[in-house]
């Protein structure tokens, strides 16, 4: 059904790059030339045959750090996005379908959460709670789900008044069928485009948190944390900080290339077969 020749080139680039990131993350211990916390050389050594990307502020191999960093970054971002989407979309759709006090209560609650800047909210919550992966994912996912809730509710409210939804209600269908079979497939396009963006926001948010010292704790580091570790080198003309920053940008672009392509396919009302 999926013909590789028919995938547009930008999407193909996106797929290849994203796949590379994912492979690096999954097989990190086998790919990385050195250990994550292993000090192998001098501080901020330039790129060389021994250390392809040079070494970092403590003399650890930057390439190995990047590969392990991909693992942490992707793991947290993927789980946080998955959480925010399932939570946000299901609550948003339910609010649209049930309406009434359920909708009012949820919507006001979300307004309340959104009225506090996400970063400040995240900082406060994380500085109180013990910093580990689970709380990090939960905090990021729940904070992000407010945006997804707003979007999916708005989309579902429009779909909910369509005749085909009324027809399903007349047939006597339960809310499960209406939410997952009537509304979800039709709300997928805006949600998928949002998914690409939200995933990247999750990566950036995690990087911000780590940069501020509240995210992933040393000696582990995600890419944002690595920018922080190496930022002082920039003053001395050492590019070590730019490499993780570049990786974040590259990931952002390639994920969105894939999301755009998926979006194109899901918008087709003819099952994508022309």
């Amino acid at each position: 059904m999926l013909d590789i020749k028919r995938i547009p080139i930008p999407a193909l680039i996106g797929i290849v790059l994203t796949a590379l990131f994912v492979l690096a993350a999954v097989f990190a211990p086998w790919i990385a030339p050195h250990g994550n916390g292993e000090i192998v050389g001098d501080v901020w050594e330039p790129m060389s045959a021994a250390h392809l990307l040079g070494t970092d502020n403590l003399g650890r191999d930057l390439l190995s750090r990047m590969i392990y960093g991909a693992r942490i970054t992707l793991f947290i971002a993927v789980l946080a996005t998955a959480l925010s989407f399932s939570l946000g979309a299901i609550l948003g759709f339910s609010a649209a379908v049930f309406g009434g006090w359920f909708d009012t209560l949820l919507s006001r609650l979300v307004d309340l959460l959104m009225s506090i800047p996400t970063l400040i909210m995240g900082l406060v919550v994380l500085s109180v709670l013990p910093t580990n992966l689970v709380t990090l994912i939960l905090v990021m996912g729940i904070l992000d789900s407010t945006r997804v809730y707003r979007l999916s509710r708005a989309v579902a409210v429009d779909i909910n008044v369509m005749d085909y939804v009324e027809a399903a209600k007349l047939r006597g269908e339960g809310s499960g069928w209406i939410i997952f079979r009537e509304i979800l497939p039709n709300a997928l396009s805006p949600l998928v485009s949002e998914l690409g963006l939200r995933f990247i926001y999750a990566v950036l948010f995690l990087s911000t948190l780590s940069f501020l010292g509240l995210g992933v704790q040393p000696p582990d580091a995600d890419w944002g944390g690595m920018v922080k570790e190496n930022k002082d080198g920039i003053v001395f003309g050492i590019a070590a900080a730019l490499i993780p920053a570049g990786a974040i940008a590259l990931l952002a672009i390639s994920v969105n290339l894939v999301a755009d392509w998926v979006l194109n396919r899901t918008t087709s009302l003819k099952g994508g077969r022309g």
Binding site: M162, D163, A167, K169, G172, E173, R181, E182, N186, G274
Partner: protein
């Protein structure tokens, strides 16, 4: 043709519009295939003299709007004029370039759209929009233009012509808005107006007023017009000549009388004779299986009752038609019966027991017995489900059918609606309008209901396609002994399908009984208005109908 010319008494004058071998193309982008050009209009030629009206008629996709708009050099939505000449007032406007078009549009040629409600900018007052084109072209000062506009409002018999221009579009009714739009087109004193289905979206009772107003305005201002519609009876009232189009090709072109009385082409003949289905009225049975008793309903906690004390009965295997103009409460009656809008007072009894008022309180079995078909088949089907899923779902849901058994029954139903098994994998977007409505019929039949509520099911379809749907419904009624509650504003449809009729007016049933009795005199004032407003394919019908009316329509 000669006689109509004489009758209208217009000064004999030269050619205004001469379209020669017009060819219009568009590029389509089928997903996964290279884009390709398709021809929408194949070498169509036409001429129009000053002060004459040419009717363009055909089903949707015939290219009538495309040809009409080409007279102002406009191609809608990426449509390109790739060949031929459009000669207006002696010059080929296609050679004029963008500047030429700008000088032409709104000055020499004006346009009246189908949906005036969508064509007016809701943020500006009517007067500002009516005089806009005149002021832009600098042909009159604002004061002059407004004076002209008021005179046109008067001519188009709009209420309060002096002050109606101060209102916003949402403050006037649909019929009035359509007339304001006509005034807008006439205001810059153009030579040609393109009317694109100006009355199609209106009720019959409103349509007749708008039609008369347009006709008078055309006569008095000596403007020429292209009148685009799919309703032959309407076009017969206003045009001197009629051009029949199909698939972007000319079928027949002739005087109005010749086209409607002596069509030469088979397709024209089919269009002319489309409405005639002979349907013998059945005697009401001994006991109705569904009775609506003294139902009163309102939306929200409003004091305005949309239904007032409505009582009707439906007999097994028979059709009750509910007729009335928009806002008369026809669809609300359907919503009350189905439980979507719980009535405030009154009951709906089914098989001798009262149905629960609210949809949520009704058992599955009751829901199965009452099915519904909607006006807009496009939005009544989930665009992400295949035809097989759409028809198969009631089978799964009500009868627990699965797998092969279900597929077999889906194939049977597809067969019943005269569509092949191959349609089962298609998505709604891959069906034509008529096919979509057929799938909706199959979906409701799948539940094996006793009653199907048909809410304006043929209103959005071309006459020929609608005809096919009506025949199918009658056929299925015979086979399955299903009853219909048929909601419509089209009396021709009622005549072909109903056994009994309820006429509704402002929420009340004003006339109710077997078809023969309801449709024979003496009539009450509203039924008379409704009956006399249905356009007949007869020259001079409009004048006769206006003269013979006993009351003005409510929604004009």
């Amino acid at each position: 043709m000669a006689d109509t010319k004489a009758k209208l008494g217009q000064p004999k004058s030269g050619l205004l519009l001469d379209i020669r071998n017009l060819r219009i193309e568009a590029t389509v982008f089928p997903p996964g295939e290279p884009p390709k050009d398709i021809v929408l209009v194949h070498d169509v030629s036409l001429t129009l003299e000053k002060g004459k009206v040419l009717g363009l008629i055909g089903e949707s996709g015939a290219g009538k709007s495309t040809i009409g708009l080409s007279s102002m050099g406009y191609g809608r939505g990426g449509v390109r004029i790739t060949g031929g000449e459009v000669i207006l007032n002696g010059r080929d406007i296609l050679k004029g370039g963008k500047d030429g078009f700008r000088k032409l549009r709104g000055r020499e040629v004006c346009y009246v759209a189908q949906s005036a409600a969508a064509a007016f900018n809701p943020a500006h007052r009517l007067m500002d929009q009516v005089v806009e084109a005149t002021l832009l072209h600098g042909t009159a000062t604002r004061a002059e233009a407004e004076k002209r506009a008021v005179a046109l409002f008067k001519k188009l018999s709009l209420p309060n012509p002096e002050t109606i221009g101060e209102r916003f579009p949402h403050q006037v009714s649909g019929g009035q808005l359509q007339r304001v739009m006509t005034a807008m087109a006439l205001c810059s004193e153009p030579d040609l107006i393109v009317f694109d289905e100006p009355t199609t979206a209106l009720d019959v009772t409103t349509q007749i007023d708008v039609l008369a107003a347009i006709k008078d305005a055309i006569r008095d201002t000596h403007v020429a017009a292209l009148y685009i519609t799919h309703d032959l009876a309407v076009v017969a009232q206003v045009s001197d000549e009629i051009m029949v189009l199909r698939h972007g090709r000319l079928v027949e072109w002739g005087g109005t009388r010749q086209i409607i009385k002596e069509p030469r082409q088979e397709y024209t003949n089919a269009l002319v004779s489309v409405h005639e289905i002979e349907h013998q009225e059945q005697k009401p049975g001994t006991s109705p299986f569904l009775s609506v008793k003294n139902v009163t309903a309102a939306y929200g906690r409003s004091h305005i009752k949309v239904l007032k004390d409505v009582s009707v009965d439906i007999y097994p295997g028979q059709t009750l038609a509910v007729v009335g103009e928009s806002g008369s409460g026809k669809s609300t009656l359907a919503r009350a019966i189905t439980g979507l809008l719980p009535p405030e007072q009154g009951t709906v009894t089914f098989d001798g027991r009262a149905l629960a008022n609210r949809l949520a309180d009704r058992p599955k079995e009751d829901l199965r017995q009452l099915q519904m078909i909607y006006q807009m088949a496009d939005v009544a089907m989930n665009p992400r489900q295949t035809v097989g899923t759409i028809i198969g779902r009631p089978l799964e849901f009500y009868f627990g059918m699965r797998g092969r058994e279900r597929d077999r029954r889906v194939a049977e139903l597809l067969d019943k609606i005269e569509m092949g098994k191959g349609f089962s994998d298609r998505y709604p977007a891959e069906l034509s309008g008529g096919q979509k409505q057929r799938v909706c019929i199959a979906r409701s039949l799948a539940a094996k209901p006793k009653l199907i509520i048909c809410d304006e099911v043929t209103s959005a379809l071309d006459p020929l396609v609608a005809h096919g749907i009506l025949e199918l419904l009658l056929e299925l009624q015979k086979e399955e002994n299903v009853a219909y509650l048929f909601i419509t504003h089209d009396l021709a449809t009622v005549k072909s399908i109903a056994d009994s009729i309820a006429v509704m007016y402002r929420g009340e049933v004003v006339r109710y009984g077997p078809k023969g009795k309801v449709l024979s005199p003496p009539f009450d004032a509203y039924t008379d208005l409704l009956l006399s407003s249905v356009p007949e394919m007869e020259i001079g019908w409009l004048e006769k109908a206006i003269k013979g009316r006993r009351m003005a329509s409510a929604g004009n």
